[in-house]
């Protein structure tokens, strides 16, 4: 087991290093630069050339000019020291501070959305599997399929138009109102919740269906397996059958996917956060890409990479606990051998009781 963990740790670190290195060069190979991005943005705003130059000069003075290879080694050195540098666009902020400020917002809306869509999706998926041959289940399956195939930004636009613009029930953007004081007070918390409703709704509406369809497929497959039929023939109660045999086994792949989704959650949702001007990681990344703010881009990429690699790593660690054959392929062979010899094999996540 310890060798297994060591292998995974080394692989994870190697992946992080490779991704950081590739990202470093790829973002700098992108056409364009931060100076041009700012100049163009200000010119569209209608500023005079002199006004534009005043702001562009400020950014030009801080744009890195050293050769790329030197920038790379300096950057890697700084990353190893835990320094991600300063934003090119906003020199008064460190990248770490930007990420530390954005991350809670992303965790709030994407995390909440993930939990809600997971719970709703699993419940609906289970019901669809249990009632798979009914008309209602077919109709719901159709609706769920349609919703899961609609891009989330489209739902975001519709929600914004209907519930923020035409019927101004919810705010059009941001994480809280300019009329509240940031802090642990009811006005602020209420404002945060109200501002989170539409982004969360847009995410949930378009993602619960994926969970539901995944759960349905998994449950239907488990329902058809031999050990379920064997348990049925032994006269086990329906509740025990659905909860212990079908539920747990069909949930396993969903939980694995959920664990991986938690990793991806740290990247935020670029489209939803951008449409709602929601100051999470996705919005920061979108703005950094548009303005060619290499430092912030790299910071976001590192965060996302580390989060995904760590969540993968945790899943890798959890798997052997569930199925020891993964950590020890030799052990797996002996299980197979024992099965061949007539020893009872236990279904993954199931029970022989």
């Amino acid at each position: 087991m310890s060798r297994y963990i060591a292998r995974r740790v080394v692989a994870s670190l190697a992946i992080i290093y490779i991704v950081i290195s590739l990202s470093f060069f790829i973002v700098r190979l992108m056409p364009g630069n931060a100076v041009s991005a700012l100049e163009s943005q200000l010119s569209v705003q209608g500023m005079t050339t002199q006004q534009i130059d005043a702001q562009v000069n400020a950014i030009y003075a801080v744009t890195p000019k050293a050769p790329l290879w030197r920038q790379y080694f300096t950057y890697i050195g700084h990353v190893l020291e835990g320094k991600l540098g300063r934003s090119i666009i906003n020199q008064s902020e460190t990248v770490l501070h930007i990420i530390a400020n954005a991350l809670p917002w992303t965790i709030f809306i994407v995390g909440t959305s993930l939990i809600i869509s997971f719970v709703i999706g699993i419940a609906i998926g289970s019901a669809l599997a249990a009632l798979q041959h009914t008309r209602a289940a077919k109709a719901v399956s159709f609706v769920v399929s349609v919703l899961s195939s609609i891009p989330n930004y489209l739902v975001a636009i519709v929600l914004l138009y209907l519930l923020a613009d035409i019927h101004p029930i919810f705010p059009t953007g941001a994480a809280y109102s300019v009329n509240v004081t940031v802090g642990f007070n009811i006005a602020f918390i209420g404002s945060v919740i109200v501002h989170g409703v539409l982004p969360i709704a847009a995410y949930v509406i378009t993602s619960f269906g994926v969970w539901a369809l995944g759960m349905k497929g998994s449950a239907v497959s488990v329902l058809g397996s031999e050990y379920v039929r064997a348990a049925e023939s032994r006269g086990l109660s329906r509740r025990r059958l659905t909860q212990t045999y079908v539920g747990r086994n069909s949930m396993l792949p969903q939980v694995t996917t959920l664990a991986l989704s938690v990793g991806f959650m740290f990247g935020g949702s670029i489209f939803i956060e951008t449409y709602f001007s929601y100051p999470g990681i996705g919005y920061q990344l979108d703005q950094a890409i548009n303005s060619r703010d290499y430092s912030v881009m790299m910071g976001c990429f590192i965060l996302i990479t580390v989060a995904v690699v760590v969540s993968n790593f945790l899943v890798d660690l959890l798997y052997p606990l569930v199925d020891p054959r993964i950590a020890s392929p030799g052990g797996a062979r002996s299980v197979a051998d024992r099965r061949a010899e007539g020893t009872k094999a236990m279904p993954v996540g199931g029970s022989t009781a």
Partner: protein, 599 residues
């Protein structure tokens, strides 16, 4: 400052007073602001929406005159020999209660000089002999009018906040650096003074003030990724004229976000581009009005070094195929009698033509009216021929054209689609690439595109030419740059030596840059404007096809007494000030007592 981070301490966010009974003016702000910002005005992340409403300039320039100003922090100024003496308004205070003095102006000039601003190329020294007087010494050859323009429009920042960044020898280093830069820019950058300036700016740009201490009509209350809230400051010297209890700017990062605010009546004002469909929709609502003001110029720059665009006849032929009037209609609808159409592609806006050229001179300019027959004759005389419906170049290859424009400029995209159709129909296979703003200038400078889009906006007609034909110039051109990121690239690639009518064979970028920096309004300027206008009109290194119209939609539901409009919604003086200046124009409207909440 970040996009409203949860880690922001309560102390960082300004306390918010109870919601005011009178409505805050709600502004749907085109193009908005990003996910992070800084309350440091020396930072490129400074939110431009706060300009002139929180920090005042010394004076506001009023178009179209190059010499007309409305005093703000400065009460008056006059030339004394080679000096520009600026007298400051007395008794002014900052929002933290400290007095406004000449040290604020001096420190601002010194600190802005570290980032290449405050027009240090126009003066050799700045001093503050008394608390209410600042003296700028003009650089030899720089006219006083140019110095006034360069100095007076600057906003001033409090020495109590930024003065600590001024190092003991900064004034001498600044003088040494800019004296050297006037002769050799790269030597100046590598000099001890250049490095000292760079070190000061580096520290300055990293500074993050927790709150804004301004002196304008408004005080910042709070800012998020969605809104900026400003409240009226009674300490402003003209506070009695300001009618609004406050302003809410809404972040319209895309025009498509703003249109529903207008239709849904959830904003009072917008500066976003309004396509004909939205204009029609607003016309059906009695509470909405639209002011239309001329604004900056849209230019398409040829890659003059690339075959076949190095041929004057080819560039002229394309000018004859450009359906300028139809393009304007597609963008703005029927906004009035051709308000945005450039009468002559000569590098000058319509009002500049009227101001600096005589009627007899204007008559001599070629209007390049849509004329495919003339274009055909020009191409044939250059050795091109038609194969089927497509033009073939003398080297046997199909004649193709790529046009790069900025994707976020939706009005330009709309307009250029019309041009592409016209060029395609004429037989030039044209590709339109709407690319991110971050790529426009690099593609232009490195010569990736055949034609690239840039805007120009100036009151000085020579600067208007220098903005394109110059190297970097006072305001930055695109022709054979020698400094910065694109040093050594060709950019526009026109010349560099060319026969300019009236001037003879001259180095185009060097000459226009020098003239733009040293020629004051007067007969000499008029003559030079005529020379350069003829060059652009005859040799067509770029096509100025449209004068952008700013369309300001304003609602009378909650606010009344907006500045008056002319016939067909055409702008009057104050709307033109807004169109040219942005926030300083808004400041002038407020100082005139306009935009009043309904009782």
């Amino acid at each position: 400052m970040l996009g409203g981070g949860l880690l922001t301490s309560p102390a960082e966010a300004a306390p918010v007073s109870a919601f005011n009974a009178a409505p805050y003016l709600n502004m749907g702000e085109c193009c908005g602001w990003g996910s992070t910002w800084s309350y440091n005005p020396f930072s490129s992340a400074w939110p431009g929406q706060l300009n002139d409403l929180v920090y005042l300039p010394l004076a506001v320039q009023v178009p179209p005159s190059m010499t007309g100003f409305v005093p703000q922090l400065a009460s008056s100024w006059q030339a004394q020999g080679n000096n520009l003496v600026v007298h400051l308004r007395s008794g002014l205070k900052w929002q933290d209660g400290s007095a406004f003095t000449s040290k604020d102006v001096l420190d601002t000039a010194l600190l802005q000089g570290t980032e290449g601003n405050f027009n240090w190329s126009d003066f050799t020294n700045v001093t503050a002999p008394t608390p209410d007087e600042v003296v700028f010494t003009a650089r030899p050859g720089v006219p006083m009018a140019t110095l006034e323009q360069g100095v007076l429009i600057h906003r001033i920042f409090p020495a109590s906040v930024y003065g600590s960044f001024v190092t003991p020898n900064l004034d001498q280093e600044e003088v040494a650096y800019y004296n050297e830069a006037a002769k050799n820019q790269s030597a100046a950058s590598n000099s001890a003074a250049g490095k000292a300036l760079s070190a000061v700016f580096s520290k300055l740009s990293e500074y993050s003030p927790k709150k804004l201490v301004g002196n304008g009509p408004f005080q910042l209350v709070n800012m998020t990724t969605g809104e900026i809230k400003l409240t009226k400051w009674d300490g402003f010297f003209d506070a009695s004229k300001v009618q609004q209890p406050g302003i809410i700017f809404r972040n319209g990062s895309s025009n498509n976000l703003i249109y529903p605010w207008l239709i849904g009546n959830t904003t009072d004002f917008s500066n976003a581009y309004l396509p004909p469909t939205i204009i029609s929709s607003l016309k059906n609502k009695s509470n909405w009005h639209v002011a239309i003001a001329n604004s900056f110029e849209f230019n398409l720059l040829f890659n003059n070094k690339r075959y076949p665009f190095n041929l004057t006849k080819v560039r002229q032929a394309i000018a004859y195929v450009f359906p300028r009037a139809t393009m304007v209609t597609a963008t703005y609808g029927t906004v009035g009698p051709g308000a945005a159409v450039e009468p002559h592609p000569d590098g000058l806006s319509p009002w500049m033509e009227g101001s600096y050229l005589t009627p007899a001179e204007i008559k001599q300019l070629n209007p390049y009216n849509l004329d495919p027959a003339k274009a055909t004759a020009l191409l044939k005389s250059a050795g091109f021929h038609l194969s089927g419906s497509n033009w073939i170049m003398p080297n046997g290859k199909p004649f193709t054209l790529s046009i790069y424009i900025q994707s976020s400029a939706t009005d330009v995209v709309q307009s250029m689609e019309v041009a592409v159709n016209a060029l395609d129909s004429f037989g030039i296979q044209t590709t339109l690439l709407a690319i991110p703003g971050s790529e426009i200038v690099p593609d232009l400078e490195t010569g990736t595109a055949d034609m690239s889009w840039v805007t120009t906006v100036n009151l000085d007609p020579l600067l208007e030419f220098a903005d394109v034909l110059g190297r970097e110039g006072p305001n930055g051109g695109y022709n054979f740059p020698v400094l910065g990121t694109y040093a050594g690239d060709k950019g526009l690639g026109f010349g560099p030596v060319a026969n300019v009518p009236g001037l003879g064979k001259v180095n185009v970028p060097n000459t226009i840059d020098t003239q733009a920096a040293t020629v004051a309004p007067g007969k000499r300027m008029d003559q030079l404007v005529w020379d350069w206008a003829r060059l652009v009109n005859q040799q067509v290194p770029y096509i100025q096809w449209e004068n952008k119209l700013h369309q300001y939609a304003f609602s009378t539901t909650r606010y009344t007494d907006w500045p008056p409009l002319g016939k067909n919604g055409q702008a009057t003086a104050l709307w033109n000030d807004l169109s040219y200046n942005g926030n300083p124009g808004l400041l002038l409207m407020m100082e005139h007592g306009y935009i009043r909440p309904r009782a």
